[in-house]
């Protein structure tokens, strides 16, 4: 096996799960998410030589994935099955209460506008630092930190408001 091939396989093993989760929450569709991840890694393979520093792999892959996602809107859309987001989520080994709570949180995350959702996903799902998020989103770091603050603030607000109806619906 060539060094390039080994390098690539390591990238796939390390990042495919995180990238899939990020893509899933970004586009809110499991089929599109998988296509995005496939396409991202294919492009990564084709231009692997341009990745000089292994430590920069994560932001590099994320940049490719975001570009692919943007491209999706430029070209004609294929008919993907239009399924309610709420029904798709597979929470393994969670109790009913936890499951309810997670569903509520998931719904609120989906309601966040993309400018708040994306930095939050990069931070929580991908474990990116503020600097990395700024680089990926091409924003300055202060803007990123403000959006992260607002994202959590909105989520907490929404979830506090939702606590009453959830309990009512639990029977």
């Amino acid at each position: 096996m060539t060094t390039k091939q080994k390098r690539y396989e390591a990238l796939v093993q390390v990042y495919h799960g995180e990238l899939y989760r990020f893509a899933y929450w970004l586009c809110q569709d499991p089929t599109v998410a998988e296509d995005l991840v496939q396409e991202t890694f294919l492009r990564a393979w084709r231009s692997l030589d341009s990745l000089q520093d292994e430590n920069a792999a994560k932001p590099w892959l994320l940049t490719i994935l975001r570009r692919e996602n943007a491209r999706r809107f430029e070209r004609k859309q294929f008919d993907y099955a239009d399924v309610e987001n709420d029904t798709l989520i597979d929470n393994t080994s969670a109790s009913l209460d936890e499951e309810m709570e997670q569903t509520v949180i998931q719904r609120q995350i989906n309601k966040l506008s993309v400018e708040y959702r994306e930095p939050l996903l990069l931070q929580v799902v991908m474990g990116c630092s503020g600097e990395e998020i700024a680089e990926i989103l091409e924003l300055n770091k202060n803007t990123v930190m403000t959006r992260l603050y607002r994202a959590r603030n909105q989520l907490k607000d929404a979830l506090t408001q939702h606590q009453e109806p959830i309990k009512g619906a639990q029977n």
Partner: protein, 238 residues
């Protein structure tokens, strides 16, 4: 750090070390810090969707297929076959049948297929075998699967066929590489009819049913109808 700044920084990043140091001397801030950290644990759990089984393997298979295109083919296609199929007689028979039954003349879709094959010569560059499972992973997006193919698949990729997402396959037959387009049809749309078509290099055939059009293109003079039937009979719709 005043209270407002503390709150802003905490909400922006509950794992900020400076924020944690700040909170150490203030019970109220410490409580808020713990609340936000617990909230992030919840968020993390909620975002932790299951990654599809075999995703890494599919990514690598995809890359292998892509990689294979860039490998220069050193052997002629005729040398790649170790197991020719006993088909000559039935091919002649099928061709005879075709000439008895065919009434259609070439079609626009046929011209598109020829143009597509001429254009995408890269599809013939590979001689690396692609597992049927990989082909079926792609076909599953259309709700179909192939039981078998009359030769090793060396190319499998999604393509746009007259505006329709289709699967572009190349398999190696004893008549050289053959191209198959599987173009799902949804009810009304049709590619314009069945029949054979050819140019100075290739000939091909289109067959449609309620699910899809199956287009087969092969080197001029190949018994395309026989192969087309072979492919069509192996194609299952779920």
């Amino acid at each position: 750090m005043n209270d407002l700044e503390f709150r802003r920084r905490l909400f922006a990043d509950p794992n900020d070390k400076e924020v944690a140091q700040e909170a150490a001397n203030n019970a109220e801030q410490q409580a808020l810090l713990e609340e936000l950290q617990a909230f992030d644990v919840q968020l993390n759990k909620a975002l932790d969707v299951k990654v599809p089984d075999g995703l890494a393997e599919r990514i690598l298979a995809n890359q292998q297929a892509d990689n294979a295109h860039n490998v220069v083919v050193k052997k002629g296609w005729f040398k790649r076959y170790k197991t020719p199929f006993a088909t000559a007689a039935s091919a002649t028979f099928a061709l005879g049948l075709y000439f008895m039954s065919a009434t259609q003349t070439p079609l626009l879709a046929g011209e598109h297929a020829l143009a597509h094959v001429h254009h995408e010569q890269a599809a013939f560059q590979s001689n690396a075998k692609i597992a049927l499972q990989v082909v079926n992973d792609k076909l599953s997006l259309f709700g179909a699967k192939l039981e078998s193919l009359p030769g090793d698949v060396t190319y499998a990729t999604f393509c746009n066929f007259k505006g329709q997402k289709s699967l572009h396959l190349v398999f190696q037959s004893e008549h050289g590489p053959m191209t198959v387009f599987i173009v799902p049809l949804s009810g009304k749309n049709s590619l314009g009819g069945d029949g054979q078509f050819k140019d100075d290099r290739y000939n091909g055939i289109i067959e449609q049913d309620q699910h899809a059009a199956t287009v087969l293109v092969a080197n001029l003079g190949s018994p395309v109808e026989k192969y087309q039937k072979n492919v069509a009979s192996a194609l299952r719709w779920l």
